[in-house]
Symmetry: C2
Subunit: 203 residues, 2 copies
DNA sequence: CGATAATATTACTCGTCAGTAATATGTTTC
DNA sequence: GAAACATATTACTGACGAGTAATATTATCG
């Protein structure tokens, strides 16, 4: 690839025909993988959805597997970014905790909804999802441990377990297909249970 | 199939050669489907694991898909049984709530661990898992609504959401491969968060 | 033993699917 | 306008995998 092409790719404007095709293939692959999962999608489905022929696919992708891995990796990078910038401040006044946690859930849900198909690939469906969730548990657990050390979260549940449970909540909530307002409500409900539990607090 | 054969299948003892083969195929199918998922498992893998040849598979199973569906259905039936007999009594003293919820989680985790491979098929991996979880959410939500009506659970989170979150917790916890003691601990941690949340209860 | 049913095997078919060689069609640059 | 490059296509291959027909082996019982 020559310098001019790299420039064209870097500048968002004036996409070359090739970049257009690449983008359409990527979108098509994302949608088809999301709908059918890795094993059940055929390259022929992807190229049909993209409106190109099969060899064209292999101009832009080394293999079906490489195309899939690239999508998983892209989602993973985005999720890591979101997770690390989405951590609860270790020094939150207890009173604000639930609100802050709700905001955090809300950002996660928005992120997932923003490209639902990619989320399906990277977070919901195997084989990509398992490693993604394992990584996320680690990222989150580190933060939870800090909260516990700071006295914000109770310390009688191991951070790793809380992190797993949080990911479990997010997994189930993320699968609900709601609009922006619905996501706000979901996030508040998550935060309510996550912070205060289901009990009536009468004891 | 003659009456004698049905009798032999009903009585657990004196399994005929055919019933032995059926059982070995079922075990093999369970393990291979669990390891590789539906689409990535080949009938040839199953029969190799079972130590029989391919046509033998088709003596006992109508198709690869039918074999898979039968396993999913079997898990689903068991799960339904466990779920319906595992509900929290609507009139629990608040003080005992967490203990009772922990017992409930414990029974679920034991059930999942008891045949881990079947659980993988019916609960963890698509395509079987999605319908299973949807059903379980319904079963659980009905009970949660009762708890809310009885004043045991807080009512400011919709029962359906609580049910989904509970399934999310169970999903993540069930994936951890722990021994019986570990499951007891996990169950207590789940119950602790589910009933009381992560907050320090200082407010 | 010899007949009958049950159980399993060898040796295939037919379709599908990932991936490719050879070739054609635009598109920039001089 | 021709050389050089980028982009896409037609027409394949080779392997694999679900499912089967015909046949062999093993147990059961009169």
């Amino acid at each position: 690839m020559t310098d001019e092409r790299l420039d064209a790719a870097a500048r968002e404007d004036s996409a070359t025909k090739g970049e257009m095709t690449r983008a359409r293939l990527r979108r098509a692959a994302t949608n088809v993988f999301a709908r059918n999962g890795y094993h059940a999608t055929k390259v022929s489905d992807i190229v049909a959805a993209a409106g190109v022929t099969q060899p064209t696919f292999y101009i832009y992708c080394e293999s079906k597997e490489a195309a899939y891995e690239a999508l998983v990796a892209a989602f993973r990078d985005n999720l890591r970014q979101i997770t690390l910038t989405n951590l609860i401040d270790p020094a939150i006044p207890q009173a604000e905790l639930e609100t802050r946690v709700a905001q955090s859930f809300h950002r996660f849900l928005d992120f997932m909804a923003q490209d639902r198909a990619l989320t399906e690939i990277g977070f919901f469906q195997p084989p990509g999802c398992s490693q993604t969730k394992a990584l996320m548990v680690d990222w989150v657990a580190a933060n939870i441990a800090q909260e516990q050390a700071g006295g914000v979260f109770r310390a009688d549940i191991p951070a790793a377990h809380i992190a797993r449970m949080l990911v479990g909540l997010l997994d189930q909530m993320g699968r609900m297909n709601t609009d922006a307002a619905g996501r706000g409500e979901l996030a508040r409900h998550c935060a309510r249970l996550f912070c205060g539990g289901v009990g009536m607090r009468t004891g």
